[in-house]
């Protein structure tokens, strides 16, 4: 692929010198996930006080990662810790969503019905995407840092150092693989709910094993990481963008249309969900340009 104009960017990514950019991405995606969880939990009526935590934490992550764009110190303290707490919150939320399904009439005896109609089981984990990015960013070097990592103050050894140097391709490919499966499952059961009435509803379901396969292959083979992963990741991103368009159209076509737009956003196709799938592509793409871990 001819990526000459992007060469300096890629070089920075390969060196792990993109803390500020990733902090920016974190801020943006945290804002979007915060909005999404705010309205999704509104649908659930905030019937448990803990449902406010992801909303508040999203705000905190957005604020912290915004300040991290300007301050290394903020990146290595604030952003790191708010993101870590948010990731933990996602795991706790996952537990609560599982509990929510348990407590629905029929519980796990009727898993399909209750997965579809209960709290979206994987959503809290997917919500952690932004925090995950921020957490990673906190260990990166900044764009203005020198290429030669050795001159910088840096962690002595282990995974911190590898992230610091942009050597976490396998790790990110693994994360992207898991994220793809979760997001693909969500797409499957939500589209199953509306009975796959548009053929495009199948595309994320079909792309999921492909993207998952590419991510797994990337863990084991650098060649796959460099060649397949960018292609499948781009497909996933395009699909997410197209899906976003369809979801917007779906909302616009709901009864009442623009006159009941607020309600239609709430109960139409989830407007941000396709972007989440696109994010899996973005993760894959990022993984594809990183360097591989030294060990193994």
């Amino acid at each position: 692929m001819e990526l000459a104009p992007l060469a300096p960017v890629i070089e920075r990514i390969r060196d792990g010198r993109f803390q500020r950019s990733l902090a920016l991405v974190t801020a943006g995606s945290s804002l979007v996930s915060g909005l999404e969880v705010a309205y999704e939990h509104y649908k659930g009526s905030y019937s448990n006080l803990i449902m406010y935590t992801p909303v508040l934490l999203s705000g905190a992550v957005t604020a912290a990662s915004t300040s991290a764009i300007f301050s290394r110190r903020a990146a290595e303290t604030w952003m790191r810790w708010t993101c870590a707490i948010t990731l933990l919150d996602g795991v706790i939320g996952f537990g609560f969503h599982i509990r929510g399904i348990c407590r629905k009439p029929g519980g796990w005896s009727i898993p399909i019905t209750n997965l579809i109609m209960g709290p979206p089981v994987f959503a809290p984990l997917l919500f952690g995407t932004a925090a995950y990015l921020g957490f990673m960013a906190s260990y990166l070097r900044r764009e203005e840092d020198s290429r030669i990592a050795i001159l910088q103050k840096k962690p002595a050894r282990g995974w911190r150092r590898e992230i610091h140097e942009g050597r976490f391709q396998k790790h990110l490919a693994a994360v992207a693989a898991i994220w793809t499966v979760l997001s693909g499952l969500e797409a499957w059961y939500s589209h199953y709910k509306s009975r796959f009435r548009i053929w495009a509803q199948w595309t994320p379901v079909l792309l999921t094993p492909i993207q998952f396969g590419a991510c797994v292959a990337a863990i084991f083979s650098e060649n796959a990481a460099r060649k397949f992963l960018p292609a499948t990741s781009t497909l996933a991103m395009i699909d997410g963008a197209v899906g976003f368009g369809y979801h917007v159209r779906g909302i616009a076509r709901r009864p009442g249309g623009k006159k009941t737009w607020l309600y239609n956003i709430l109960y139409g196709p989830p407007i941000f969900a396709p972007l989440l799938f696109a994010a899996c592509g973005a993760l894959g793409l990022l993984a594809s340009v990183l360097r591989r871990e030294k060990r193994g």
Binding site: Y42, K43, G44, Y46, S47, G106, K259, T260, Y263, Y267
Partner: protein, 578 residues
């Protein structure tokens, strides 16, 4: 899936009292002896009785709720079936007549703990401020002895307690938001939204309904099965059976089920001292009490007060004015049915989930006073067949054919304000029920204003149905809800109770239920009844012992006691901005 993962669903536990799939309480409740004088006896544990029981018990009073029907175990007694739910309704004999006789039973009367709130569709809008001064504004009906503002904090409180799901901004009446988020629409709601928006009529999707859109402690959220008026086994739809009665019992109240009160007993001309009732075996008992609250709804309350006639109260208790039993109201509940080319499947989603109050207020151009609301309804097959009998004259093969098209029909309801008229009333008939208690005779006549309103309402809803794309539209005339017949007012010459529900003639006899409403608006009365009950409870509690000892009437408005709200009312739900 051919069957549930772990095999067919098994019977729920029978060693506990199930109030929904998660909420369980111990079986049986504390028993007061008949000769033990309790503070309050509440006759009827429906929408009002359940709230009163909980409030008074939580405030520390000795209180017994006597209920004619059973104390339901929702898992073991209720079924997910239309015909099998017949027992939820008041099926004892009543006589109905007049020029426009009301259907009773299933249509508007519950029996058993929770009363009508067990089988209401759970639309829970507030009344509009104008409803409280109908006579002043329109020269018809009556004014209330209280204003909207006096009831507003109770509306807000009860909306949290039961809780009510709806939009963050409800534009009609006194605009406000709801503590629980709106529900997803079913296909019938889609029809209403489509039709209304096409005609430029504002419409509200997803509420306000007293159905959980998110779980609430040990009550799961709605599963959209459409059996609201057959009793919600899920426990998502609010009824005092699951919202207030469990807490009442926790605070020591007694629920005495299957006990039919036959008359209120007078200690002397001015005070009552208890009630006579028949237990399930038909044995008569007397429960001694310092004060009695009658919460039997618009037919049984006047029936009981009329049947309690005694020397000094020859025409029934607190009926010196002759008003008792008069000004009974039902709302026009015409159902407009539309057939669509596309499938609807209206048995899915709660029948109540979208409405418009655009035509609620008086518009002089329409040629009648007051107005109506438009709401989704969704009959199950038997009710639908009965509607088709009425609306199309269907029978035989025609009935079979139209029912084969059941999934193509959507139904919307008019909910219109019929004014209080003196000749619409409850009296005592010659017949007696299984206990030998004379039954009620209900007389109902439509008047000119009512007929004009109904005609206009049906026309408007038909337009909406057409605008939504219906190919064929028919309608059935019917009525919904029952209120009035013991109305409250400040003048003892034309009302039965004062603004706190105390009867004008007997200082320790109260009425608190739908029967005290002077007018009814075009809003479903359930929430208003519960709000009034919470207010009466606050009054009784702030009066304390004086209720039991003094004949003096203190008419100062009591402070609202947020501490008596059902536990957890304030830790759940969305903050209220309006």
């Amino acid at each position: 899936m051919k069957e549930p993962l772990f095999g067919a669903f098994r019977q729920a536990r029978s060693d506990v009292h199930n109030l929904g799939p998660l909420q369980r309480i111990a079986k049986g409740t504390k028993q007061y002896r008949d000769d033990e004088e309790v503070d309050y006896v509440i006759v009827g544990l429906g929408s009002a009785g359940g709230v009163l029981l909980q409030r008074l018990a939580k405030a520390g009073f000795k209180v017994v709720g006597i209920e004619a029907g059973p104390f339901w175990d929702t898992e073991l007694d209720w079924v997910s079936d239309e015909k099998g739910s017949h027992k939820l309704y008041w099926n004892d004999l009543r006589i109905t007549g007049g020029t426009d006789p009301l259907s009773l039973g299933e249509n508007n009367s519950g029996k058993g703990v929770g009363g009508g709130s067990v089988h209401w569709a759970a639309f829970a809008p507030r009344f509009h401020p104008s409803d409280f001064r109908v006579y002043t504004e329109d020269g018809v009906g009556a004014d209330w002895p209280i204003s909207y503002d006096e009831l507003k904090p109770y509306y807000e409180l009860l909306e949290r307690e039961i809780p009510v799901a709806g939009p963050a901004y409800f534009p009609w009446g006194d605009p406000h938001g709801y503590p629980y988020g709106p529900h997803p629409l079913g296909a019938v709601g889609d029809v209403l939204v489509k039709g209304c928006t096409k005609l430029g009529i504002r419409v509200c999707a997803g509420g306000p309904v007293a159905i959980l859109s998110g779980s609430h402690g040990n009550r799961p959220h709605c599963i959209y099965r459409g059996f609201c008026i057959q009793g919600c086994k899920v426990g998502a739809k609010a009824s005092t059976l699951i919202t207030h009665v469990p807490e009442a019992i926790r605070y020591g109240a007694e629920v005495r089920e299957l006990s039919m009160v036959s008359r209120v007993s007078m200690r002397n001309r001015d005070r009552v001292n208890g009630v006579f009732y028949f237990d399930r075996e038909g044995r008569e008992h007397f429960q001694k009490a310092k004060a009695v609250i009658v919460s039997g709804y618009a037919i049984e309350t006047p029936r009981l007060l009329l049947n309690s006639a005694c020397p000094g109260h020859e025409h029934g208790l607190s009926n010196g004015s002759g008003t008792l039993g008069r000004y009974l109201m039902a709302q026009a509940g015409n159902v407009v049915l539309g057939r669509f080319a596309d499938l609807i499947r209206m048995y899915k989603a709660p029948p109540a989930h979208a409405l418009s109050e655009e035509f609620y207020e008086t518009d002089p151009r329409r040629g009648f006073a007051r107005g109506f609301a438009i709401q989704t309804v969704a009959p199950l097959p038997i009710a639908f067949a009965k509607q088709m009998m009425a609306a199309k004259g269907a029978w035989g093969w025609g009935m079979r054919r139209v029912l084969m098209d059941y999934n193509h029909w959507a139904t919307l309801g008019v909910l219109g304000e019929i004014l209080p008229w003196e000749d619409n009333r409850v009296e005592i008939a010659n017949e007696k029920d299984q206990f030998g208690i004379p039954v009620a005779k209900v007389t109902f006549n439509l008047h000119e204003n009512d007929k004009k309103m109904i005609a206009f309402g049906v026309k408007k809803v038909t337009e909406i149905m057409r605008a939504a794309g219906a190919e064929e539209v028919v309608q059935e005339s019917r009525y919904a809800h029952l209120v009035g017949a013991c109305r409250m007012g400040s003048d003892p010459r034309d009302s039965v109770v004062d603004k706190f529900g105390r009867t004008h003639e007997i200082a320790n006899l109260f009425v608190c239920d739908g029967s005290i409403l002077p007018t009814q608006g075009s809003a479903n009365p359930g929430l208003t009844i519960q709000a009034l009950a919470a207010r009466t409870a606050d009054y009784l509690i702030s009066q304390g012992e004086r209720i039991f000892t003094s004949d003096r009437r203190d008419m100062t408005t009591p402070p609202i006691r947020y501490s008596l709200a059902v536990e957890d009312s304030f830790t759940k739900g969305v903050p209220r901005f309006v």
